[in-house]
Amino acid sequence: MTTGRSLKLGEAGLGAAVLALGGFIAFQTAQAPGAANAVVGPALFPYLISAGLMAVGLALLREALAGKIAHGGGIELDGGAVALVSGGLIAQLLLLEWLGFVPASTVLFMIGARAFGSRRPLVDAVLGLALTGLAFTLFNYGLDLNLPLGSVFDSLAGAPD
């Protein structure tokens, strides 16, 4: 159970993050070399946006401190499931170009299904393989897109492509 109190912290965190992003953009823009030849240089808009971010960040902080938050009664969140899904995405992007689209995305499919309470990893694996295999065939042969086959298999198959 995430309570009103931690949501209030989250809300304050949002304000702080927006404020920090504004400061960061202003800092980065000040660091960049200026271009003198244009009437309006490339720095004006970043400065405007960073000023806007900082103003909004302050307003959010004020609202958070005043207790004006979303889901005032608290909200239940399952952190484990979020971590699983996010981990699944990381696993896929690390494996993608090495193992290829089909195995990497099957891993993502299995982890994703697990996060939503599936307890049958084998069924998920078969379904994931079928789905990603179908997508791979359709996109690579039907639509001329290049989903990676995987560097491991490239050498095995000796495919020129």
């Binding site: 989250g10 809300e11 949002l14 992003l21 980065q28 960049a32 030849n37 244009a38 009437v39 309006v40 490339p42 808009f45 970043p46 946006i49 960073s50 806007g52 971010l53 909004v56 960040g57 307003a59 959010l60 938050i69 979303a70 889901h71 909200i75 239940e76 969140l77 399952d78 952190g79 499931a81 979020v82 899904v85 996010s86 699944g88 995405l89 990381i90 896929q92 992007l93 993608l96 170009e97 995305s105 993502l108 499919f109 299995m110 994703g112 996060a115 939503f116 309470g117 599936s118 998920d124 994931g128 789905l131 990603t132 997508a135 996109f139 639509l143 001329d144 290049n146 989903l147 990676p148």
Partner: protein, 503 residues
């Protein structure tokens, strides 16, 4: 007459068997993906982008037109049977539509939504046909200063209108604008906020951000809430047809909804949310059975659903004729145009008439196809609702990553997708709307371009935005939209204080 000739040429393009095939595929997959819970029209269009990469632009956009309308139809099914509106425009439909489904009248709710969408879609497409050329003519009078003011207005309406809190909307908007800064500045060639990562020089892709927020962020949120929520699906039973009474109670709301919806979509006035609410309130006031509203009144499905679809067609008018997206879905369509190196706007009507008019013509065709797809075959789409959630969301993740990767065949886009997804999850938990972020990301750089062009023409004189009457009035409207609620609240508070003192 010129318009009719252009439209006829458009039909000649759209009715070739090849393009007709893409239109049919577009409406079918658009409906199929749009029906899936958790996937609104914006995400449907974003997820189906890769399917069009190998097509030439005209066919691709004919297919897009189908996907866009199909997703709107599919979305109403989800709101009615699952009470899970995929976007803000179907929230109102869900209230009474779901109540009807509970009473076993789901089929009638779906039918009045489908026929209403057809009526509204057709009338609004006719309106689009004639309004778009007018807007093009108007756009030719616009200089950079006016364009900039118009974009500011569009950004403001998207932000001020959506969501419950202006501050949260602005936070989302400015986050989107900051993402838009990343990449090479087009006028000076200077890199901004790229941190030395070469893949960032091209900027952050709108599609990656939209998929990150709508697919990954939403999936993370649903995962976090999954253990605590139950959902019920109500089977369709009994007669699938509208009774005479249903027809009688539906046709006027369809028409009224259409006439409310189209102008709101066509003016940069904040898309579909307001007209659907207005339509609901109008129907409630005019109805002989106001007590049924909220408990399954058919008018409350017919009107808002028509308004929603009419607004969706209306949104295409500023998108095509001014290059101005006023909803998240339109922002993704604009990104799709940019993928093909096309910039919607007055010149597009001159340079690519086949594409523009072929697309408009295929909207008419798509509407007819959708009516045929949705009335007799509704039972088939309903089956998609019962896909077990673990597989549905796992599949959404796979296709979200597929879409992001195929943009540039680049793992960096997947990293961005992951980061944006986590941010989207945070935004969802804290109730920050995501649409302003997507629109800000795509409009920000365009607005900056016009701003700098305007100042280059005026030789650095910033008063140019206030001395041009059109630009001034647009900026004043934008300022009022932001300030009016704040001022009203201040006045009300003061009045409240005085009353408190008086009693």
């Amino acid at each position: 007459m010129e318009t009719l000739a252009a439209l006829a040429a458009g039909f000649a393009v759209a009715l070739t068997p090849y393009n007709l095939m893409w239109a049919t595929i577009g409406v079918t997959v658009g409906t199929a993906i749009g029906v899936l819970p958790g996937i609104g029209p914006a995400l449907t269009v974003a997820l189906l982008l890769p399917v069009t990469y190998s097509l030439e632009p005209t066919s691709a956009f004919i297919m897009f037109a189908g996907i866009y309308y199909g997703a709107m139809y599919g979305g109403s099914t989800t709101s009615i049977l699952l009470n899970a509106p995929g976007e803000s425009g179907s929230i109102v439909t869900a209230i009474d539509g779901h109540a009807m489904a509970r009473q076993g009248r789901g089929a009638q709710a779906l039918a009045t939504a489908a026929i209403g969408s057809f009526v509204a879609g057709t009338i609004a497409t006719i309106a689009l046909t004639f309004v778009a050329p007018l807007m093009v003519r108007m756009a030719l009078l616009f200089g950079p200063a006016e364009y900039f003011a118009l974009m500011v207005l569009a950004l403001t309406t998207v932000t001020a209108v959506l969501g419950s809190s202006l501050t949260r909307g602005l936070a989302s908007l400015f986050f989107g604008l900051s993402l838009g800064l990343v990449g090479i500045d087009l006028q000076t060639g200077q890199a901004r906020l790229t941190f030395g990562i070469p893949e960032l020089l091209d900027g952050i892709d709108t599609v990656v951000v939209a998929v990150g927020l709508f697919a990954v962020g939403e999936t993370l949120y649903v995962a976090s809430r999954y253990r605590f929520e139950t959902e019920e699906i109500f089977a369709l039973k009994g007669s699938k047809w509208l009774s005479r009474e249903d027809w009688k109670r539906s046709w006027k709301p369809w028409l009224r909804g259409t006439f409310l919806g189209f102008p709101f979509g066509a003016l940069p006035a904040g898309g579909t949310e307001i007209p659907t609410f207005l339509s609901y309130l109008t129907e409630k006031r005019l109805s002989k059975h106001p007590e049924e509203f909220g408990k399954g009144a058919i008018e409350a499905v017919a009107g808002p659903e028509a308004a929603n679809n009419a607004a969706a067609a209306g949104v295409l008018a500023p998108l095509l004729s001014l290059g101005l997206p006023t909803s998240a879905t339109a922002a993704i369509m604009l990104a799709a145009f940019q993928q093909y190196g096309l910039q919607p706007g007055p010149t597009l009507f001159d340079t690519n008439p086949d594409l523009v008019w072929g697309m408009i013509a295929s909207l008419y065709i798509g509407n007819v196809l959708l009516l045929m797809l949705n009335l007799p075959m509704v039972g088939l789409w309903v089956k998609l609702l019962v896909i077990p959630r673990p597989w549905l969301y796992a599949g959404i993740l796979v296709f979200a990553t597929l879409g992001a990767y195929t943009l540039n065949n680049n793992v960096v886009d997947l990293v961005i997708l992951w980061v944006i997804g986590l941010i989207g999850f945070g935004m969802r938990v804290l109730d920050v709307p995501v649409a302003p972020c997507v629109v800000g990301l795509i409009l920000g750089p365009l607005a900056e371009q016009q701003f700098r062009r305007a100042l280059a023409i005026s030789q650095g004189d910033p008063t140019v935005f206030f001395t041009h009457p059109l630009s001034l009035s647009l900026l004043v409207i934008a300022a009022l939209l932001v300030l009016a609620p704040v001022l009203l609240r201040a006045v009300r508070n003061r009045r409240g204080d005085r009353q408190a003192v008086g009693t």
